[in-house]
């Protein structure tokens, strides 16, 4: 054991933000897993309509929009690490717009389900689990968009440069996580649950 004594000179504490974000993603995974389990447990157990097969349309456009925002945030992070603030701001804005589009598409889906199909959280077990799981994900998208908007405003006012790449990257990790959760939600609600 004595020969590795040089490790104590080179060892550095992992960044606090990195440890915190890994912890957050870990615990959020557990949180979402419970809602996914509840969703799958109640598939087909509703005592009244409407059923998923009758009212759900696969949200292809919304999925493409949200998942591609993971790619644009990667491009934005590359630009920030290269200290190309202008390019960073542009890709960052594109990410925000894609996330915003996803929310608008979700809102339109909900408006149709509530207004046209009469499905609310109180209608049946499908409505209960659907709005809870999809809504919880949309809530996370909203939190992410708020933070992305904050960074964008700070960038426009000249407060963001390469020195903030580490912290901004933690926000991008959260965003990737939210996108990853969408893949699970999509498979649960629109593939398995239908």
């Amino acid at each position: 054991m004595s020969e590795d004594s040089d490790t104590s000179d080179t060892w550095t504490l992992p960044a606090r933000g990195r440890a915190g974000m890994v912890g957050l993603i870990f615990t959020e995974t557990s949180f979402f897993a419970i809602f996914v389990v509840a969703y799958l447990y109640y598939v087909g157990k509703s005592t009244s309509g409407p059923t998923p097969a009758a009212v759900l349309h696969t949200p292809i456009l919304a999925s493409i929009v949200l998942l591609s925002s993971s790619w644009t945030i990667v491009l934005a992070m590359r630009a920030l690490r290269a200290d190309a603030t202008g390019r960073f701001a542009r890709w960052w804005l594109v990410t925000f717009l894609l996330g915003g589009t996803f929310l608008v598409l979700t809102a339109r889906e909900w408006a149709r389900l509530i207004g046209h199909d009469g499905l609310t959280i109180a209608t049946n077990l499908f409505g209960t689990t659907f709005y809870t799981l999809v809504g919880l994900h949309a809530l996370h998208v909203t939190v992410g968009l708020t933070l992305i908007a904050l960074v964008f405003v700070l960038t426009l006012r000249g407060h963001v440069d390469v020195r903030h790449a580490e912290r901004t990257e933690m926000l991008s990790w959260y965003w990737h996580f939210v996108d990853g959760v969408w893949v699970i939600v999509f498979l649960t609600v629109y593939v398995v649950g239908r």
Binding site: M1, T7, T27, E28, A38, K45, A122, N124, T132
Partner: protein, 357 residues
């Protein structure tokens, strides 16, 4: 410092923290569902609309059982620091202790439904949760044997922290044995929601956790405040507590086996439960006296206790190499850790631990 030299207390806090991250969200999620049921008319746990009350129990115990380990693992960490120092020996089987701690952390996530045998689950589910609950007893048993092996052949000093740790070993063994008994589904069906269960988990929560917290307070009080706690009052506290605790919760095993259910405030005369409840009441008085002695000890020692110095217990971990209480900056220069007992190495430069690890 490397992971292989990290104090066991830190290892157990790490495991406990990781468990918290996994185990708390199910409770949050279940409460979100319950709130939606109550206020927005959702149907998660509404059996009239096809919902399931049993699902609530699963989610609750998916939090509830790991939570027990979240509480007890730091207590294990305290014992793992104190027992070696007062046995004058390094901890026995350090790598196995680490593996057992992480093993408990992992297995304990898969045992929750042993709280639900009486609900009426499928035989397959019952068998799974019986087996997993038995399995978690294995790393736990390893830890008990390793603490005993640390004491074996040691030059034991019966200070107040050590007394509390020794009582912890016996009482936690009782808790573990009744735990394994309750993990047997047919036995559980007989004693579910009885005072036997109440006795079992109080042997964990008080007999193990609270006793080790007391041990930790007596052990680290000098480091936190710069003054020793009174050993004389500490002994009074210890003996009153041991007698009071076992007198309160020991008889509850018997009351439970005689059929006394949990969560009742009174019962008919002539069920044969009176004497056991009277003993419990008597024990509670002893425990109350013990806590008063402890509080008195803490207050008096804070003002008039003997000055502790840096290292009153001749201990081996780094906190004892700095002043009591430690300065705000902890260490002026980053200490170099070359073994699991860095302060031993500093005290005995001719015989460092490194080559033996």
């Amino acid at each position: 410092m490397t992971l292989g030299r990290m104090p066991l207390f830190v290892w157990l806090m790490l495991t406990s923290s990781a468990q918290l991250l996994i185990a708390l969200p199910p409770l949050t999620a279940a409460q979100v569902m319950l709130l939606l049921d109550r206020f927005l008319g959702a149907h998660f746990f509404d059996t009239q609309a096809g919902g399931s009350a049993v699902l609530w129990q699963h989610f609750f115990w998916l939090f509830g059982h790991p939570e027990v380990y979240v509480l007890v693992l730091p207590a294990f960490g305290i014992a793992s620091e104190i027992i070696p120092v007062f046995s004058r020996k390094p901890i026995f089987g350090y790598p196995v202790m680490v593996a057992a701690s992480v093993g408990i952390g992992l297995i304990s996530i898969s045992v929750w439904a042993h709280h639900m045998f009486a609900v009426g689950m499928s035989p397959a589910a019952n068998s799974f949760f019986i087996a997993s609950s038995f399995m978690v007893a294995v790393p736990t048993g390893i830890k008990i044997f390793n603490w005993l092996a640390t004491m074996w052949g040691g030059k034991i000093r019966f200070t107040t922290p050590m007394l509390f740790c020794i009582a912890f070993l016996f009482q936690f063994l009782c808790a573990g044995l009744t735990g394994v008994m309750l993990a047997v589904a047919p036995f559980n069906w007989q004693l579910t929601d009885s005072y036997f269960v109440v006795a079992h988990f109080h042997y964990v929560i008080v007999g193990a956790i609270v006793f080790n917290i007391f041990a930790g307070i007596y052990y680290w009080f000098p480091k936190m405040t710069g003054r020793m706690m009174s050993e004389r009052l500490g002994r009074w506290h210890f003996w009153l507590m041991v007698i009071g605790f076992n007198l309160t919760f020991g008889p509850q095993h018997i009351a439970g086996m005689l059929g006394m259910p949990r969560r009742i405030y009174t019962y008919e005369a002539g069920r044969g439960w009176e004497i056991w409840n009277q003993l419990s009441t008597l024990g509670a008085l002893f425990q109350a006296a013990a806590i008063l002695v402890f509080a008195w000890n803490a207050i008096v020692s804070l003002r008039r206790g003997a000055v502790a110095g840096n290292d009153p217990w001749d201990a081996w971990t780094l906190e004892w190499s700095t002043t009591s209480p430690p300065p705000e900056y902890n260490f002026a220069t980053l200490p170099e850790v070359r073994s699991r007992r860095p302060l031993w190495d500093l005290k005995h430069p001719d015989d460092p631990d490194g080559p033996y690890e």
